[in-house]
Symmetry: C2
C-alpha cells in the first residue's frame, strides 16, 4: 500500500447515466440522464463518447473550473481502443492518459490522479470512466437486438459516465492506495463476471488489511465496484476463509444500481458502474458526514471474447483506494 | 512539461522480436527472436502475450532483479482489451496498471513509471509495450491469409515486445516528460497512420521546445515512435511552418526498423516498434556515450475500425520524454 503524504481531496464529481439507471434506487442523485440512452447521437458508440464528454464538462462546471485548470486526464472505458474516452474528450486541450483496466478503470484513474497530485506534478487531475449497455453487449456477448436470454449470474452493464476531480478542497480525501495484481482462477463464463473478479477483490482487500494493520470494522463503508450479488457473496466467503469477516458495512456498487423489479439478475457492472456510484453515492455520504472512513475497491474482469474463443480464461484485477473525511 | 526532481535512470532494457525485425538493420541488437513469429504458441494472440512475458523476464534478468523488486508494471498493447499484456504478465505478482495509448503506449508507460519513481512511491517500475503483425492485421485491417494489397503509405506493424526498468542506476536518465493531448485532423485512411499521428507529434514537440526554452540543436537525437517516412516528413513540415527546423538529428524508429529490400512501404509501426527500438537503439547510444541528450516522442493513432466504419476519423496522440546521460 502507498500512504499519500498530502492526501489530495476529491473536489468535484459528476455522473451521467441512461434511463434504466435513472429509474433505479440512486436515480435522483445522478446529475443528468438520457431518456433513450442515445444522448442525441446516431450510434451507441457516439452516445457513450458523448456521455464521457458531458461527465467531464459537468465536473468542470460543478468545480468552478476550466479545462486548463486540469493538469491531466486519466480515462478509459470498455470499448475496443477505448474510443469513448479518446473521441469523447477530443475537444479538450488537456494532456490525456488512456487506461485499460476493464471495470476497474475508475479506481485505476483515481490512483494515478492521486499519485500525480500528491507528488506535486499537477494541481488537479480528472479521473473518468464510462460504459454503455448497448456497446458492451454487442462487443462482448450479443447485440441487444438478438434478444439472447441472460443467465441468472449475468450482470447488466451500466450505461453511465462518471468523473472525479482530484485536487483542490473537498470533504473526501484519498489517504492511501493499493494497486491490484492480476488474479486468474480459470473462470471461463462470460456471464459470471462477478465470480471471475471476486478472487482479485479478496486478494487486494486482504493485502490492504494486512499491510495497513486495519480491519473491516475500521471503515464505515467498504464497497466494491461491480461484483454483483454473486461476486459480493464470494468475496465475503474468500475473506472469511482467511479469517477476515466483512460485515454489513461491505457493499457493492453493482448491487446498489438497480432494484429487484428491474430484472437485471446479479446486478450492475461495467466501468460506468463504480464511476457513477462513486459520484452519486459515496461522495454524497462523505459530504453529508455519514461516512468518515471508506475503502473503494474497483474491480475489473480482463476479459477478451477472442481469447475466450481460443480457450482462455478471465483474469480479474482490483485496485483499492482509502478515503477519509476532512478538508 | 514536467521536470523530474530526481531524474530516475533506466537501469535495464530488453527486446524480443519476430523474424522480419531480426532480419532488419537493428536485428543483431535485439535480445531474442522467434524464427516463425509464434514463440512456440498455437495462436498469434498467445504468441504476442508470450513475447510480453519474455520481455519482462529478460529485463528482470538483465537488471539482476526479481519480480518483487518491481513496485508496479505499466503495460499495454494493441489487442482489444490489451490482452497480450494482462495475460502475458499474469504469472507475476506485481501491481499492474493497464494502459491504452495505441502505439504511444511505451512512452505513456515510461512517463507514468518515471513519475511514480521520481515521486518516491516506488523504487523501480517496469514499462512494457508490444505488438504482433498478425494480431494487428486481422484486428485492424484484414487477416494476413487474405493477402490484401498494401498501399504505398501503409506501415508494417512490428512484431516485438520491449521492456524498460525505471529506477536504479544506468547511463540514461529521464529528466523531463510532456504528456500529449489528443489531436484530430480528420484523417480517415487506416493505411496512412503516419499522417494521422504527425500533427500530434508536432504539437508535442513544439510545446516542449517552447515550454523548456530549448531548440532541436540542443539534442543529439530527436526520435519519434512510429511515424514512418510519411509521418516523419509531415512532422518536419509542420514544425518548419511554426519556425522550428528539425535537422538530420530527427529520426523515427519506424524508419530504422526495416531496410528497403524488406518491402514494408512507409516503415514500421505498432506499440512494439518504439519499445524495441528504445531498448536496442537509443539505450545503446547512451550506453556507448554516443548520445547525451535525446527526445523520444511516442506516437499513437487512436484508431477504432468500428468508429471508422461509422464515419469517424483517427485522432493522434504523442507523449514526450527527455533523456539525459549520466548515472
Amino acid at each position: 500500500m502507498i500512504k499519500l503524504k498530502k492526501a489530495p481531496c476529491i473536489s468535484a464529481v459528476s455522473s451521467v447515466c441512461g434511463k434504466k439507471e435513472f429509474d433505479g434506487p440512486l436515480g435522483d442523485r445522478f446529475d443528468m440522464h438520457s431518456e433513450d440512452d442515445t444522448f442525441g447521437k446516431d450510434t451507441f458508440e457516439a452516445a457513450e463518447a458523448e456521455m464521457q464528454r458531458r461527465a467531464f464538462a459537468l465536473a468542470l462546471h460543478k468545480g468552478g473550473l476550466r479545462e486548463h485548470d486540469i493538469g491531466a486526464i486519466f480515462a478509459g472505458d470498455l470499448m475496443n481502443q477505448c474510443t469513448a474516452s479518446s473521441y469523447g474528450l477530443l475537444q479538450y486541450d488537456v494532456p490525456y492518459f488512456g487506461l485499460f483496466g476493464a471495470c476497474s478503470t475508475m479506481a485505476e484513474a483515481l490512483i494515478l490522479s492521486a499519485l500525480c497530485v500528491d507528488g506535486g506534478y499537477y494541481e488537479r487531475c480528472a479521473a473518468l470512466a464510462c460504459s454503455h449497455n448497448c456497446t458492451a453487449q454487442r462487443q462482448f456477448r450479443y447485440p441487444v437486438e438478438y434478444g439472447g436470454q441472460r443467465t441468472p449470474t449475468a450482470q447488466w452493464t451500466v450505461t453511465g459516465a462518471g468523473c472525479a476531480i482530484v485536487g483542490g478542497t473537498g470533504a473526501m480525501r484519498i489517504t492511501g492506495v493499493l494497486p491490484g495484481r492480476t488474479v486468474d482462477k480459470k473462470i471461463k463464463d462470460a456471464n459470471n463476471m462477478g465470480v471471475a473478479m471476486a478472487p482479485a477483490a479478496a486478494d487486494t482487500l486482504l493485502r490492504y488489511f494486512k499491510e495497513s494493520g486495519s480491519s473491516p470494522s475500521d471503515f464505515d463503508i467498504i464497497i466494491t465496484g461491480d461484483l454483483g450479488s454473486e461476486g459480493h457473496a464470494l468475496t465475503k466467503d474468500l475473506c472469511a476463509f482467511s479469517g477476515v469477516s466483512l460485515g454489513s458495512n461491505y457493499l457493492d456498487f453493482g448491487m446498489l444500481m438497480y432494484d429487484e423489479s428491474q430484472d437485471v439478475h446479479a446486478g450492475g457492472s461495467g466501468c460506468g458502474c463504480s464511476a457513477i456510484g462513486l459520484a452519486a453515492f459515496l461522495y454524497d455520504k462523505f459530504n453529508s458526514g455519514k461516512c468518515r472512513e471508506a475503502l473503494f475497491v474497483g474491480t475489473g474482469a480482463l476479459m477478451s471474447p477472442l481469447v475466450l474463443f481460443q480457450g482462455g480464461s478471465i483474469p480479474g484485477i482490483a485496485h483499492l483506494l482509502h478515503f477519509s473525511s476532512g478538508e
